[in-house]
Amino acid sequence: MAEEVVGIGAEAVLIKTELYGFTVIKKVRVPKPYRNPEFDRMIRYTRTVTEAKIMIEAKTLGIPCPSIIEVDPYEGLIIMDYIDGARLSDILSKLTPKSRNEIFYTIGKYVGKLHKHGIIHGDLTTSNMLLCKNRIYLIDFGLSYYSYQLEDRGVDMHLFLRALESTHYNLSAPLFDKVIKGYSEIMGKDEAEKIIKKIKEIRSRGRYVKERRKTKSYLCYEE
């Protein structure tokens, strides 16, 4: 089977090819021409290693994500199995409200599981979630890291909310509520409340936030 470039992400090139009879994805962190070479090598190496480690761990937590087949950190290369699904960001508006709600509830549960085991995804956007045979797969753990800190968990969730708002603005508030529900299911009510408080606090740190401490919802600005 020929190699086919299926995606050029911000950091890596994704190549679809075949290995041991499986369809696989080769994720190559290519050197960036705009970065100092030494800096570039360092950042590609650490991100490749961490990504592979964390994906294997996520799998053991029962979170659907691609399986790791091979890793070469010096080349910034990870080979993983190919998930034949659609990016959630592309199909979100076509889904029924009911299945949208279910999906975001499940995502909330997955994020809860990761956080419970000290993993921060680091790049939760709907482009990093694939829908395949009614299962949601989390992909791109390239910015993941280990932490049990509420601050880091909050930033992780805040980013997800922000990504929702910037791409599916009209749906963001109700869908994020579902995420919180699923998260609460895994982490417990107390932790979920803490995370909501944290998200608001992180929001309020943003520049030019109106009435810094008086926001009622996640949304810090008026409609």
């Binding site: 950091e11 360092m42 930033v155 990504a163 708002e165 943003g206 520049r207």
Partner: protein
């Protein structure tokens, strides 16, 4: 009056930070004049009160020069008075706003509220002829990656603490490279060879420069490294953070254009990096011309003209300044398809 078919002429006033500017522009994008007076502190950073004093001192003269240069009659040729109500420094904003209110009231013209960040975007879109770009807005007070979606400019990522320009300016000032800091540090950096690892903070789509600044200043004081190496490493690290977030936004939103605007848009190093990113993602790269990069009156006038065309005005009694006016709060009906 049928506003949609008429070319409107608007006078705009900018006074959000160090610049007091008066511009006159039309709704079709003709910049008639752009007169600006920049407050440069004798030492330290911008003191809001001193900047405001500067603004009140130059306001009459700036307005007069703009009108003289334009050859227009303010009573008969101008359709509205636009003012940057925010975001910015309170004392500075009040000067521009008072002048604008007085003009609008005395001449019986509509007063048009303009958001400073939106104005930076619109002047960049106008001068680069771009339609629906990803916007990288970097200046002394702002570092934001934005894109248009559903009626407003939405923030994709921004700084969690200080702005890119602020980070480099403060470093320049503290190590004695003077003001403006960005060109001075970049000049110094061209002689740098050694890359020193400094805190690189990308949190999701957001960036943070405060740790980077603290560390760079500490190393500068310790004197272990050459200043040119530190300058090189500082801008390399700081710019890479912005560029990484911009690249992620470009991949995520799949916009076909990227524009760079704001005072730090003048940075040739940052331009070069973003240009390379655009080549990778097959997007068009464009940068606002130097004269419209920093704060200026023309961008307020042009954005005001667009707004007036869509009947966006504000009654005098409601025209309060808005120090923390976020870009997401502002409708931009002229982009609606």
């Amino acid at each position: 009056m049928n506003l949609l078919n008429k070319e409107l002429v608007v006078l705009g006033i900018e006074s959000t930070a160090h610049t007091y500017g008066v511009g006159i522009a039309t709704s079709s994008g003709r910049i008639i004049v752009n007169v600006n007076s920049v407050y440069v502190p004798t030492k330290g950073g911008i003191h809001p009160r001193e900047a405001a004093e500067h603004h009140s001192k130059v306001s009459a003269e700036t307005l007069k020069r703009a009108l003289d240069l334009s050859g227009l009659d303010i009573r008969n040729d101008i359709d509205g008075i636009a003012v940057a109500l925010g975001p910015g420094m309170g004392p500075c904003l009040r000067v521009g706003c008072s002048v604008a209110r007085a003009l609008a009231c005395y001449l019986d013209k509509p007063l048009i509220p303009v958001n400073h960040a939106v104005a930076h975007i619109e002047i960049a879109r106008l001068t680069t002829s771009s339609k629906d770009p990803l916007i990288v807005y970097v200046s002394g007070g702002n570092t934001v990656i934005m894109a248009y979606s559903e009626g407003r400019y939405r923030v994709f990522g921004e700084t969690l603490d200080i702005a890119l320009g602020n980070c480099i300016d403060v470093f320049a000032r503290e190590v004695g490279l003077g003001h403006p800091g960005v060109p001075a540090v970049e000049q110094m950096a061209t002689r740098g060879k050694k890359f020193i690892q400094l805190p690189y903070t990308v949190k999701g789509q957001d960036v943070s420069f405060s740790g980077l600044l603290t560390m760079a200043l500490r190393l500068a004081k310790e004197g272990r490294y050459k200043l040119e190496d530190l300058c090189y490493s500082l801008i390399e690290t700081a710019y890479n953070m912005v560029v990484e977030v911009a690249e992620r936004a470009l991949a995520h939103t799949r916009k076909r254009e990227l524009i760079l605007t704001g005072g730090v848009a003048r940075s040739r190093v940052l331009q070069e990096k973003l240009k390379k990113v655009c080549e990778i993602h097959d997007a068009r790269f464009a940068v606002v011309p130097d004269e419209y990069a920093g704060d200026n009156g023309a961008m307020i006038a042009y954005t005001g003209a667009l707004a007036l065309k869509h009947r966006i005005t504000i009654p005098l009694e409601k025209s309060f300044i808005r120090q923390r006016w976020r870009v997401e709060e502002v409708d931009v009906p002229w982009l609606r398809k």
